[in-house]
């Protein structure tokens, strides 16, 4: 029960933040990325504020030693800077630039009821499933992409 409450509340606050941040508007995102054009720095403020809160908050939270309602922190263990990380980031960045949506804002934008957003999210989920399947059977992947 507490799991559902934690998810709902944190997801809700995260979504509110996305709505206010400008990230749910692809034209704002793309003009932030357009450093050679009419550059709009607004998203720097989102990242700056978000990182300041998270840096401070994480420090306090990790200082407690364990989360309030869970026996331990569940953190990524991989430290490798490898091919999947870099190629994934490049692929992700190209998609982000093309459409101006990253995963959170795309989900939030479903509320507009626009067919384009539903199709975008369907394509995104398909991409995630495709990679998850390939990683579950590494033989299907080119050398080096199966790890991490």
């Amino acid at each position: 029960m507490s799991e559902i409450l934690v998810g709902l509340i944190s997801g809700f606050i995260f979504g509110l933040g996305l709505c206010l941040s400008g990230l749910a508007d692809p034209s704002v995102v793309q003009s932030f990325l357009d450093i050679a054009g009419a550059w709009n720095p607004a998203l720097l403020f989102v990242m700056g504020a978000g990182l300041t809160v998270t840096l401070t908050g994480y420090r306090l939270v990790f200082g407690r030693g364990r989360p309030l309602w869970s026996p331990r922190f569940n953190l990524p263990t991989s430290t490798a800077i490898d091919t999947p990380l870099i190629s994934g980031a490049v692929i992700f960045g190209v998609g982000w630039g093309l459409a101006g949506y990253c995963p959170g804002p795309a989900l939030v934008s479903l509320a507009s009821g626009r067919m384009e957003v539903f199709v975008f999210v369907a394509a995104m989920v398909t991409g995630m499933i495709a990679v998850r399947w390939m990683r579950a059977s590494p033989a299907a992947l080119p050398t080096g992409l199966g790890q991490s």
Partner: protein, 138 residues
């Protein structure tokens, strides 16, 4: 509200949510990771938390709209011919690179993870180059 002020408030809310999730359940608030754990081939053990997070995320613009009269959602800037491949790319790329703007760009950087720093710089650069090519080359 000035767009920069609203951006700061948005960033604070995102940061607060990320910290809250870590404080209460010890988890990273990375959207692609949260969604990924609900997809085949394997449903994550903590699927209830993930599903509830997505539900909260989906509800937020509806409630904001009902209370404040706006929700900040803009119109797509490109048509289906770009949206479909772009959607596939952000899905595949975030799954392959183990994170997106939130997981690497906020949570990972705040944990001072070198992996996330490399990923963030890389996807930012790729996105800037992509927009440059779209707007100034083609």
């Amino acid at each position: 509200m000035h767009p920069f002020l609203s951006a700061v408030i948005g960033g604070i809310l995102i940061g607060f949510s990320v910290v809250l999730l870590m404080f209460l359940s010890g988890r990273i608030a990375g959207i692609s990771g949260i969604v990924g754990g609900l997809l085949p081939p394997k449903l994550a053990d903590d699927w209830r938390l993930r599903l509830a997070f997505i539900a909260g995320l989906l509800l937020s613009p509806l409630i904001l709209k009902a209370i404040a009269g706006f929700n900040g959602i803009g119109a797509p800037t490109v048509g289906f011919a770009i949206l479909i491949p772009a959607g596939f790319l952000i899905g595949a790329g975030s799954a392959l690179g183990n994170g997106c703007t939130s997981g690497h760009g906020i949570c990972g950087l705040a944990r001072l993870s070198p992996r996330s720093a490399v990923a963030t710089v890389t996807f930012m650069a790729a996105a800037v180059v992509t927009v440059f090519v779209m707007r100034h080359v083609i």
